[in-house]
Amino acid sequence: MTPAIALHDLAKHYGPVRALDGVSLDVPSGSVFGFLGPNGAGKTTTLRILTGLARPSSGSARVLGHDVVMSPHAVRSAVGYLPDVPGFYPWMTGAELLRFAGRLFGLSGRVLRTRVDALLDLAGLAGVKTRVGGYSRGMKQRLGVAQALINAPSVLMLDEPTSALDPIGRKAVLDMIASLASRTTVFFSTHILSDVERVCDTVAILHRGRVAAQARIGELKSRYGMQKIAVEATPSAEPLAAALAHAPWVSAVERPSDDRVVLAVNDVQRAQREIPAAAVAQGVGIRRLETVEVSLEDVFVDLVGEGGR
């Protein structure tokens, strides 16, 4: 099956700066794909190349099999795009903007009217008569998603769609994206990990212009995430932490509180055997022992480092 988006060794240089340095990835058709990376990793540059706003220095980028440099019209006809800071004509109403966007795709008549009404509903903007210049940031972002959907795109590209929104605005936009999951391929760039965990099924992590990892979220966690075991001890977890700190199967020790220790381990079964033994040896009681689910944040920090968050 042809991937919805295929990047091969894609590079973009601005003088000596390598914004993209050989990015290769495939976005499966029908997926909600999180394109994750710290600020400055190259996410927006990748999206600008995919939408024809910028040219690659080398390598190739294909959308639905069309080369973005050789067939820009075919690409633009099939995608919907929301930039990180969408610009609108302030004198238009939301409905006028959607009608205009639809006409750019050649839509007219009943099809256009039906889509405009449906998308205004989806964006929660039905009945809003205010001009776009008077919209809040959240309303603009929802309108941005709506205009990106006017052509019923095969691929929807969203650049940081939630980064500047308050929690309510974020939830509204994420709900919109989640509702599209089975209908179109969504390529969603962000640095907000919780958003990715909430709506995406597959992710790529971009770091310093390169893809550090790409997989389904669960697979990524099991492949890159260090297993963790949390122990609640009585009267204190301090002797247990000290005793286990140098065990060969322990990678890191965290002390969130006096009676709790969290161990990053590379051999879970051995840990489960040896932690109770160490507790007995140290005269410490165990109130609770549990494995901690690895978060995408843990994987991200492992791959990108603390500075990348």
Binding site: L53, P86, G87, F88, Y89, F105
Partner: protein, 253 residues
């Protein structure tokens, strides 16, 4: 093609729904209304400016020619400046506001973007000046009882060739330069250069520079051949638009 039509429609609606409908038409119509009146009362105005000085100022009785010359001089001097300032942001304003990204990630080519911009602003210019010329003609007739139509139409038409060329140059500069002020500065510089070139007779005869004073000369009845200035004026407009498309197509947004 549907993208071009939709964008041209947006440009025309934008003119009607924003400040654009007031500024250029306001300037042109102001001069259209005041020109014949000022021409009619110019002797009295001059006399009023120098009262009781003993100075005797002899001014011939004004005619329709003075009203027409008032119209063409205002077009050449003030309205040309207005065109340079107003249209300096024709393309760069859409880049800065992010709306260029909104439309150019849809099936609208950059060539269609530039051509639609030029046609819409050109329609505003032609429509406004045509209405202004009609008002000038009607008021001149009302004030002087005489207003030959042909010379005014010719003079206005020739000035429109000049104005459409300046518009083309401004669309090019706005595609090339990111800021409206920068494009306006370059546009004013180009206007000054064309004005300086108008003291060199071959440039006046064989290039668009000749368009600068041709409207006045048509009204005064001493115009030479229109052919070379008009043809080269259209040619320069075409070159400016082609360069605008070239410059804009190379820009990364």
């Amino acid at each position: 093609m549907s993208g071009f039509r939709a964008f041209l429609g947006k440009e025309l609606r934008e003119i009607v729904k924003t400040w654009r409908i007031w500024v250029l038409p306001g300037i042109v119509l102001f001069f259209a209304v005041t020109g014949p009146v000022i021409a009619r009362f110019a002797p009295q105005l001059v006399q009023a400016l120098a009262p009781d000085t003993g100075l005797v100022i002899q001014i011939p009785d004004p005619t329709f020619l003075d009203a027409y010359l008032q119209w063409t001089k205002n077009l050449v001097q003030i309205v040309t400046f207005a065109i340079i300032i107003i249209f300096a942001g024709a393309v760069s304003a859409e880049r800065r506001s992010g709306t260029a990204v909104l439309v150019l990630t849809k099936p609208l080519s950059r060539t269609a973007f530039i051509v639609a911009k030029y046609l819409a602003q050109g329609a505003l210019l032609v429509g406004t000046v045509a209405v202004g010329a009609a008002i000038t003609w009607a008021l001149t007739y009302a004030v002087f009882g005489e207003a030959p139509l042909l010379s005014l139409a010719q003079a206005t038409g020739v000035w429109l060739v000049w104005a459409l060329m300046i518009l083309g140059i401004m669309v090019f500069l706005s595609s090339l330069v990111g800021s409206q002020a920068g494009a306006a500065g370059l546009g004013l510089g180009a206007f000054v250069l064309l004005s300086i070139a108008s003291i060199w007779a071959p440039a006046v005869r064989y290039s668009p520079v000749g368009l600068l004073n041709l409207s006045d000369e048509i009204v005064a009845g001493r115009a030479g051949s229109l052919l070379w200035p008009v043809v080269t004026g259209f040619a320069l407009t075409g070159v400016a638009l082609a360069k605008a498309v070239w410059a804009f197509s190379r820009k990364e947004l």
